[in-house]
Symmetry: C2
Subunit: 347 residues, 2 copies
DNA sequence: GTGAAAGCGCTAACAT
DNA sequence: ATGTTAGCGCTTTCAC
């Protein structure tokens, strides 16, 4: 067991309170005293016991991040951003994987969370609007994604609809008219899924361009197959169904990467025969053959916004509680080879 | 502030000790008493305060995992495996990213770690053999990777040399003779890098086949460019230098994926003109065009072995301390399209 | 500006 | 089989 505050106090010839003051940057400490304490800390290699601090102060300095899986690139990159944002603010991050399973998601916001985490960033994929009530947990909670709106907590989401609209506009601008959509929701349009919101953006863009939507171009994909295999399958089916198309809007980058693979196998050239745009801007989409145009929803900023919201909630006094707030970062279209633009290194 | 053991004890009509006994599965509790306590726990939605437990018992139930970055697929997938292994054993995981920077790696095993984590899994890339001394920290530590051998801690690594040898043998078996290697160490062979160990395996396989190594086929890549861009660059240079080759052994999958991209741009067909094998078996290598043959170093088992070693060390009494131990899982070659085998779904 | 002391919620030694 | 109790190392209120 390492040295304690008492040890430091003894070596520095002060009381434990003074040591505490120095460690917590309490301003009214005489410089000389402060120096003696710091010296003692270094001499003993003293480090505060966070369990004790946590017990006393009610804060552990650790937040949770609950995501479906780190094997999904988007969430691995989101975790990277969250961990860096949290570290910059002196917080550690415990990563929990829900596997996108409803029971594990419910667990993440309930019992599984003993009094330990200062707060939780939670990105559900199975819970929906009807579960908003389950979010009324005791600790600070910030929601990520678009499964639940108007819940009792802060919410960081993205411009799903307008960015999807912009994506389709980009395809229209390069002259495409038969634009397939890959990854639509099986249940049609419910307000709360990324897929539905992005589909709405697609429809809006077509409508503005005066193009009638062809249902044969809209391909559904089970949520569990929102990956390369699912994208490949959808593209193969498009071809084998004999549907004519000159562009694909994939509702996620991994779907898009699968589409690229399948189009290659079908001997269709990208972007000459078919242009492709994805959604998420994961690192990988810059390195596919060809590199893939995509929507950058502002992942990095989502992480920063979320961590900052959470910190605010953690330090907020119960009395002057602000009402829950929903924020979204700006998005941008990253143009690459799959829509006829050269790849920009490092983009 | 939630209910405490005292509250539970009061509701159940027992003493706090009995509550503690029930929670910690102490065997000698009368069934009826146990039931009353469990009922009270549920009624109050009581959850133990881990800070208090940690303070008292010296255990927090949280371990650390320090990796370069979750944006590198291999480490994201490793983190996934570690988190699942740890969860199965009731431990949480705080993920730290070192960015592969020497100073942050040193920090990970020193001051940055206040008395909080029960133990640390550490995958260094900048620290080397000469830093073995820095690992003599107080808490349990298990090392991952191959930067440091014979250090003072347990070490989970992989069969770098023999698996690399097997990779090259696979290329030889399909009739390739001019096998390029992408990703060699700039500093030539030092014992402690994955690159060097895998290069040795390459040389051994060639030697056994009676093929003389052609230095023009061995391409070096800076550690910081062990990614798709670095792999692509190396492949482009191979072609532009006019080197003849019919296969590439990429020392990592991301290098290999870059190689695939570059070969496509150079109008070389894979595997007809050039066969490609990677190393790591990240999910992505199964979805490239073409899908990529690779070495599966046993990542999943590495995680389990590491977590189990760490748990043993955590619960070990200082007295009967076992000497440090080095373990490696089995590897296997996953054959895919890039060496002429059909992709197997889900492989 | 600094010290003394209480107590956060829990575990475990000891008592019954 | 269960109860009593003393801390674990820290923060914080209250003195001085």
């Amino acid at each position: 067991m390492g040295p304690t505050m008492h040890d430091v106090a003894r070596v520095a010839g002060v009381s434990i309170k003074t040591v505490s003051n120095v460690i917590n940057d309490y301003p009214h400490v005489r410089p000389g005293t402060r120096d003696r304490v710091i010296e003692a800390i270094e001499q003993l290699d003293y480090r505060p016991n966070l369990s004790a601090r946590g017990l006393r102060s009610g804060r552990t300095g650790v937040i949770g991040l609950a995501v479906p899986s780190l094997r999904e690139n988007y969430f691995a990159e989101l975790a990277d951003s969250v961990i860096r944002a949290a570290e910059a603010r002196g917080l550690g991050v415990i990563v929990e994987q829900t596997g996108g399973q409803r029971d594990k998601e419910l667990l993440a916001v309930s019992t599984s969370r003993p009094r330990f985490l200062d707060g939780l960033l939670f990105s559900p994929v199975s819970l929906g609007q009807e579960d908003a009530g389950a979010l009324a947990i005791d600790g600070p909670l910030v929601l990520l994604g678009e499964r639940i709106f108007d819940g009792p907590t802060d919410h960081v989401t993205m411009h799903n609809m307008s960015s999807a609209q912009a994506a389709v506009q980009h395809l229209l601008e390069i002259g495409r008219r038969r634009i397939a959509l890959v990854g639509a929701d099986l249940n049609g349009i419910d307000e709360t899924s990324s897929a539905s919101l992005r589909l709405k953006g697609y429809m809006r863009a077509l409508e503005e361009a005066g193009i009638e939507m062809d249902p044969a171009l809209v391909r559904t994909t089970e949520m569990s197959r929102w990956n390369r295999a699912g994208g490949a399958e959808a593209a193969h089916l498009l071809v084998r169904d004999g549907v004519e198309f000159d562009a694909v809007f994939a509702l996620s980058d991994t779907l898009g990467l699968g589409v690229l693979r399948a189009l290659g196998e079908e001997n269709l050239r990208v972007p000459d025969d078919v242009a492709v745009i994805g959604f998420d801007n994961i690192d990988e989409s810059n390195y596919s053959v060809p590199s893939m145009t995509t929507v950058d929803p502002g992942r990095e900023e989502i992480a920063v916004l979320a961590v900052d919201r959470l910190i605010e909630r953690i330090s907020e006094k119960t009395a002057d509680r602000r009402p829950p707030e929903t924020v979204k970062p700006e998005f941008r279209i990253v143009k690459r080879e799959s829509t006829g633009f050269p790849t920009i290194e490092g983009e």
